[in-house]
């Protein structure tokens, strides 16, 4: 007997939740307990009174599972609203990464040239290294990191995705 796996779709979910102790554990725990995937998860409070946080989760699964994930999230008492940005219409998603690259001579120049193409900023430098700050979609950052790997990638830090629907209305 072999265990079969199903095909996954990538979805970006945006949640507003009460900013209370344990909320992140509640959500992360729901994903592990029910066997759902988390590709990335970001969280920060978004109101002046610090009462509400926005959590953005990139997850994957067959459409039926995505629907179930949303229903399960909505069932949590401190969750105000769940929006599936992928389904809700056009939306903007961004991720920020810090990318440390080392090298000298031609490699150093090539790194700067590529950074320029990707509109990455230099935020730290030594004689033998740079740290680039880059924002964009997950794909764009993946591509930038892949190129830097060939030049002299040292390490990467990524924030995970945040997103909002396009247009003047709140989701």
């Amino acid at each position: 007997m072999h265990i079969q796996e199903e095909l996954n779709e990538r979805h970006v979910l945006s949640l507003t939740v009460a900013n209370e102790a344990g909320i992140l554990a509640r959500i992360a725990g729901l994903f592990t307990a029910r066997g759902y995937n988390i590709d990335s998860l970001t969280v920060a409070d978004i109101t002046t009174d610090h009462a509400i946080s926005r959590i953005t989760i990139v997850t994957g699964g067959p459409p039926k599972v995505i629907d179930q994930i949303i229903a399960q999230l909505e069932r949590l008492v401190p969750v105000h609203k769940v929006t599936d940005l992928t389904e809700a219409g056009p939306f903007v998603e961004r991720e920020l990464a810090l990318v440390k690259v080392s090298g000298t001579g031609e490699d150093r120049i090539e790194a700067l040239r590529l950074a320029d193409v990707f509109r990455a900023k230099v935020v730290d430098t030594t004689i033998e290294s740079f740290i680039f700050e880059i924002t964009g979609t997950t794909d764009k950052i993946d591509n930038f990191v892949a190129l830097m790997r060939q030049i002299g990638l040292v390490e990467v830090g990524r924030t995970g995705v945040v997103g909002l629907t396009r247009g003047k209305e709140a989701a």
Partner: protein, 602 residues
């Protein structure tokens, strides 16, 4: 002890009493809240971290405390109390082992949607995280087995949390809520006022169904040729009115009715429209009717794997309507054509009203009923007779017969063969009379649940149908029943096996009975005597009727050790992973082994 926390700095404590609402300790605030919320009984066990609360309860004139023998017992008693009275069950336990012992009962209440509030003591706030004596991360441990949980770090917030906890436990899809209260929060003082009615910021269960969905459902029902109502525990949770509406809906449409294990009693077993329970050990007619129906209306049930069997063969030619208050139950395992998120009572009331206003009449379902009567001919609940041994099914049938004249009978069960036989052979005509552990399947549930039900219903005849193995899982609660003089009857179908495990081993593992024999059983009659109970042994068919009569007529708690046929199996049965149409009706159909795919399923 005034409470020091950053949030309360600068309060006018020193300016004289005129400025301050009367302050109470956290423990007193908790007890005040329980009174304000109408709590009459608390099931609990004291310990270091709840001593202030126990002191506040000392000789309390309004709140009765039932001292259990093990915290798991307290949780199941609270479940039995809740399920039989419709009120939430309240549990009070200490930190650390008190809380961890409660986890099984909390999980059981989550799976079966039982309203329960569990108050746990915790070490003082400044000790949290230091591995203090009897410290456990109760909030972390219970996060995924509660509907919601709270750690209260400020006595000023305790009243609000307690009221909110009751609100969440008892509304929407009910469930257990844990409130963890550090010991210093119980001792420290804060002003107390009864909280005003509030609307929760994010928790708002949908009660009323979408009108368009109701419209569609009514038209689907009116047009159906082979409809079936598939009902579940949600009807019972929704309240007595929902059970009445279900009868009206069934009467109005003429549709057959089946139910899950959790829903038994919501629809009367004495009705000609009743098909019996469905699923793994359900009747032939209910499972075939589900398989052949053109419309399934699922009311407060959740397409559990015990009900559906093999999913790709489940009710293949039907359209499905699913009414549930929990949206996550809809389309979880079975995709439905019409989801209706609502309280089932409210949705049924809307459907009935619309049906009447449209002047729909009972459709001619005679062809459908003829088909159903054909399946009924199978007599799938029939069992072999024996002159020498008590057949366990016969024991339940006799128990049912003997208690029919009693005005109010509540049956609880443990988990296993006896549970299924009780579900099959005992007829329930009213809701809240059948208490069993369905979702989690907790051995050790039934006996404490019976005590809890008896506490809530002192005049009812409460019988726990148990197996020789399950009953031992919380047998220590005999002391609780003695102490509070709850006259529960413990009816043990003793076959000296963990019968359901043995049955699966017979079906799947060529009768290799690995560790399923109940060796070294206690002498249950002597055990009864040791606790001041009455013990009765029934050894043969000729003693069955009189033994049951004696049990009913004996005041006080009674154990009946009913020796039944050792190797009886529970039929009909749909093996794990099989379709409804592949039902096994008797032992001759058992091959003794199953495929690896089937073996991998529970």
């Amino acid at each position: 002890m005034p409470f020091r926390s950053s949030g309360r700095k600068g309060l006018p404590r020193t300016q004289g009493k005129d400025f301050i609402v009367a302050e109470k300790s956290g423990a007193d605030i908790l007890v005040e809240c329980l009174i304000d919320l109408g709590v009459e009984v608390v099931f609990g066990y004291p310990g270091g971290a709840v001593l202030p609360i126990y002191d506040a309860l000392f000789n309390h004139p309004k709140i009765r405390h039932v001292l259990v023998r093990h915290e798991q017992g307290a949780t199941h008693m609270a479940e039995g109390y809740a399920r039989s009275t419709g009120k939430p069950g309240v549990v009070l336990v200490t930190s650390g082992p008190g809380a961890t012992n409660a986890v099984t009962g909390i999980t059981d209440a989550l799976m079966d949607s039982i309203p329960m509030i569990v108050l746990t003591g915790q070490v003082a706030t400044q000790l949290i995280g230091t591995d203090a004596f009897q410290e456990a991360d109760t909030i972390g441990i219970t996060r995924h087995c509660t509907k919601h949980n709270y750690l209260v770090k400020d006595p000023g917030k305790l009243a609000g949390v307690i009221h909110e906890a009751f609100h969440i436990a008892t509304t929407g899809r009910p469930g257990p809520v844990v409130v963890d209260i550090p010991k210093n929060v119980q001792v420290a003082t804060a002003p107390y006022q009864k909280p005003e009615a509030f609307e929760h910021a994010s928790y708002r269960p949908q009660i009323k169904a979408d009108a368009k969905a109701i419209d569609t459902a009514v038209e689907m029902l009116a047009a159906a040729e082979r409809p079936i109502l598939y009902t579940g525990g949600g009807v019972i949770n929704s309240g007595l009115e929902a059970a009445r509406l279900l009868r009206e809906l069934a009467d109005m449409t003429g549709a057959p009715v089946t139910s899950t294990l959790m829903g038994l009693g919501a629809f009367p077993a004495s009705s000609p429209q009743w098909l019996g329970m469905l699923g793994m050990h359900g009747t032939y007619e209910s499972n075939w009717a589900m398989n052949q129906a053109d419309l399934i209306v699922c009311i407060g049930a959740r397409f559990d794997d015990r009900v559906t069997g093999r999913l790709d063969a489940f009710a293949p030619n039907s359209r499905k309507v699913h009414i549930d208050i929990d949206r996550s139950s809809i389309n979880k395992t079975v995709e439905v054509d019409l989801p209706i998120v609502a309280d089932v009572g409210s949705a049924m009331a809307d459907m009935i009203a619309l049906w009447k206003s449209r002047n729909h009449h009972k459709a001619d379902l005679s062809a459908w009923w003829k088909q159903i009567d054909g399946w009924r001919e199978q007599k799938s609940l029939a069992y072999p007779e024996s002159a020498t041994e008590i057949m366990p099914q016969e024991a339940i049938a006799q128990l049912y017969k003997a208690t029919r004249s009693a005005t109010d009978v509540i049956i609880t069960t443990e988990v296993g063969q006896h549970q299924m036989w009780a579900a099959q052979h005992f007829g329930f005509d009213a809701p809240n009379k059948w208490l069993t552990s369905g979702g989690l399947g907790t051995m050790g549930y039934g006996f404490p649940a019976a005590i809890g039900a008896q506490v809530g219903n002192p005049d009812s005849l409460v019988i726990c149908v148990a197996g020789d193995a399950s009953v031992q899982m919380n047998i220590q609660e005999m002391g609780t029943a003695s102490q509070y003089r709850t006259p529960v009857k413990l009816f043990i179908l003793n076959n000296e096996y963990m019968g359901m495990v043995r049955q699966w081993q017979e079906l799947t593992y060529e009768s290799r009975y690995s560790n399923s024999y109940s060796d070294s059983l206690p002498d249950f009659v002597k055990l009864a005597e040791a606790y001041g109970w009455t013990g009765i042994r029934i050894e043969g068919p000729q003693e069955l009727e009189s033994g049951i009569r004696q049990m009913i007529d004996t005041p006080g708690p009674v154990i009946v050790d009913c020796r039944v046929a050792k190797l009886s199996n529970c039929f009909p049965m749909i093996p794990s992973g099989a379709a409804h149409t592949d039902m096994l009706l008797d032992p001759s159909q058992v091959s003794g082994s199953l495929s690896d795919e089937a073996k991998a399923l529970v």
